[in-house]
């Protein structure tokens, strides 16, 4: 009996030691680039070339951060980041929920086919869509109403959405923005798991589907809302290709500015690292604030294929 206990204890200790060795070694890989970024961004050029300097620089300098700050045009690009990609990310959090609710709760004939299309959109690379969308935004007239109006009246009206936030807001508003397919999927899985009695009670009280959704479903869905918000914020913050394509100099978000710095071979490596740090610090802070809730919410989303 005693021996069995000891054996059990040793295996459990050994197990947790093995787990920690494994987690720390893999966690090191995840944290490694951050260490390097921090140490490189604080180094002077001499320290970078000095072979004896490994992580801790001999003289700590903040010059790199200053240069990176100026080159990023931090305040302006932060403003356009918040106004264009981040706002469109927040719009997506709302619109994808609405679409997903339609897929999760109601029955109509073409539902499965359409949901297949939602999944298929995950596979469409934005590279393919960019040029057609570009020309579409340059002369925005999807229903050809303006063209007809021009023909009838002989005027030359044109709506040009390029270099405005509409290039990102409009697709998000119709829940076909950046990675909406993933968000619709996450929401739908959660909504399907909610008991039907929730809304039935509301229907008895005379609510219509929309009020039932707003008053009953949304308040009990903090879990997927937090998950989608975190992902949406991170992905929109990082988005580079579409913003680079659709937005001109005056509206460039941080990601595009960082990319420009990254490609500038004349800059010292420390400046690029400092720029990268400045870039990830805001999103990292938001993540650290939300992460407790987020990690907990992962536990509950229960995404099952």
């Amino acid at each position: 009996m005693d021996r069995k206990k000891i054996l059990k204890k040793t295996t459990s200790v050994l197990g947790s030691v093995a787990r920690w060795v494994f987690l720390i070694s893999v966690g090191y890989i995840a944290l490694y680039p951050i260490f390097v970024m921090i140490s490189n961004s604080l180094m002077t050029m001499d320290d970078v070339l000095d072979q004896s300097v490994v992580y801790v620089p001999k003289t700590i300098t903040f010059e790199n951060f200053q240069t990176a700050f100026e080159r990023l045009d931090f305040y302006n690009s932060l403003k356009s980041t918040l106004l264009i990609p981040i706002l469109s990310g927040m719009i997506e959090v709302v619109t994808c929920a609405i679409t997903a609710y339609g897929f999760a709760r109601f029955n109509f004939r073409e539902k499965n086919f359409l949901f297949g299309l939602v999944i298929a959109t995950i596979a469409v690379p934005s590279t393919l869509l960019m040029i057609p969308q570009y020309t579409g935004f340059y002369n925005f007239d999807p229903l050809k109403i303006i063209a007809m109006f021009n023909k009838l009246t002989g005027q030359n009206l044109q709506i040009n959405f390029l270099n405005t936030g509409f290039t990102m807001w409009l697709p998000s508003l119709f829940s076909v923005g950046l990675r909406s397919g993933v968000f619709i999927f996450i929401y739908r899985q959660f909504f399907k798991g909610l008991p039907k009695e929730f809304e039935e009670a509301a229907y008895v009280d005379g609510a219509n589907p929309l009020t039932a959704f707003v008053k009953v479903i949304v308040p009990s869905s903090t879990v997927p809302i937090v998950t989608v918000t975190v992902f949406s914020l991170v992905w929109h913050w990082n988005e580079y290709y579409t913003t680079n394509m659709f937005l001109a100099e005056s509206n460039r978000p941080l990601a595009v500015m960082l990319k420009i710095i990254a490609g500038d071979t004349k800059l010292a490596n420390g400046v690029r690292m400092a720029g990268a740090l400045i870039f990830i610090i805001p999103v990292l802070t938001v993540y650290l604030i939300l992460q407790r809730k987020f990690i907990k919410s992962i536990d509950k989303v229960g995404i099952v294929g």
Partner: protein, 305 residues
């Protein structure tokens, strides 16, 4: 009779409400995805020239594809290497994230912190920061290497120290070369499995504890438990993760076909050839997935149902 009528009423309402909820998505889908997608297919069969005031294109049918497959010196090589790298990166990513998901799902002190660390790659790896970390500048080796096809790691491997570590073991050079290559590969793969880990954790959460209790009473070992309970219960999630990984790897810029196409668009302002490149690549991936994945999951299903 009466209740039948009432039920039909509810069904109609459900149909109408469902269609109403997804209506915005349908509109967006048509104007921002399907139409641009068709235009891009058309471009693949055309010769496209950008000029002031519009786009000039004329139909050349299969000429773009013929050029790519017969005359382009790089395309077939990059296509083959991209496809083969998909063949081995996807299973490894799925396996690595499954293992990490299981470990991180266990109850132990500090798992919240560990999960937070493992989410870091999702934040960083999604964007421009990764470009900075992976590009070589001013003769310095990049901080991390992506694209497991790269063999340059053995030259500049000082960063991970895998080579140095293995050299100490006095193994034959061929063996150390191989091993350091695989260690580096794991390093790279972790960077691409953030979301997959999250999906697996949420899948693991849905397995009822009672199943494990029963197996414990029946005297099953941990190994049997994994193969008889965990893995079968995760079948749907595994399918989801696999599909998601294929899609991510397919459109990621660490993939040579995609990065070549992208640089052709932004560098040479060409659109016809890159779309043809991407579409042909897509077709190959689809065929490959169809051949490999469908029978695999069919056989899984037969075994466990």
């Amino acid at each position: 009779m009466k209740s039948n009528k009432k039920r039909r009423g509810i069904e109609t309402m459900s149909r109408r409400a469902g269609r109403l909820f997804i209506l915005p998505w349908e509109i967006g889908m048509v104007f921002f995805v399907i139409v641009p997608l068709f235009i891009s297919v058309a471009y693949a069969f055309c010769e496209v020239n950008f000029k002031v005031g519009g786009i000039d294109y004329h139909f050349v049918f299969l000429d773009n594809f013929k050029y790519l497959l017969k005359e382009d010196p790089y395309y077939t090589d990059t296509l083959v290497s991209s496809l083969t790298s998909l063949l081995y990166t996807v299973p490894i990513i799925v396996a690595v994230s499954l293992i990490l998901g299981i470990v991180l799902n266990q109850k132990f002190k500090g798992r919240i912190i560990m999960r937070a660390i493992f989410f870091l790659p999702v934040i960083i790896a999604a964007g421009v920061v990764l470009d900075i970390l992976t590009t070589q500048i001013n003769g310095q080796p990049p901080i991390i290497q992506l694209g497991s096809t790269s063999t340059t790691m053995s030259d500049g491997g000082g960063y991970l120290d895998a080579t140095a570590l293995l050299n100490g073991l006095r193994l034959p050079e061929a063996v150390t070369g191989m091993m350091s290559k695989y260690i580096t590969m794991i390093f790279n793969l972790l960077w691409r499995s953030g979301i997959q880990i999250i999906l697996f954790i949420s899948g693991l959460q849905t397995i009822p504890d009672s199943l494990y209790e029963v197996s414990k009473i029946e005297g099953a070992s941990k190994w049997e438990e994994f193969w008889m309970i965990t893995f079968p219960m995760l079948r749907d999630v595994t399918l989801l993760v696999t599909v998601f990984t294929v899609l991510e790897e397919m459109v990621s810029t660490s993939n040579e076909v995609m990065s070549n196409a992208q640089s052709m668009i932004s560098g040479q302002q060409r659109y016809d050839m890159p779309t043809a490149m991407i579409w042909f690549y897509f077709l190959c991936v689809l065929v490959m997935c169809g051949i490999l994945l469908v029978p695999l999951f069919r056989s899984f299903k037969r075994k466990w149902d």
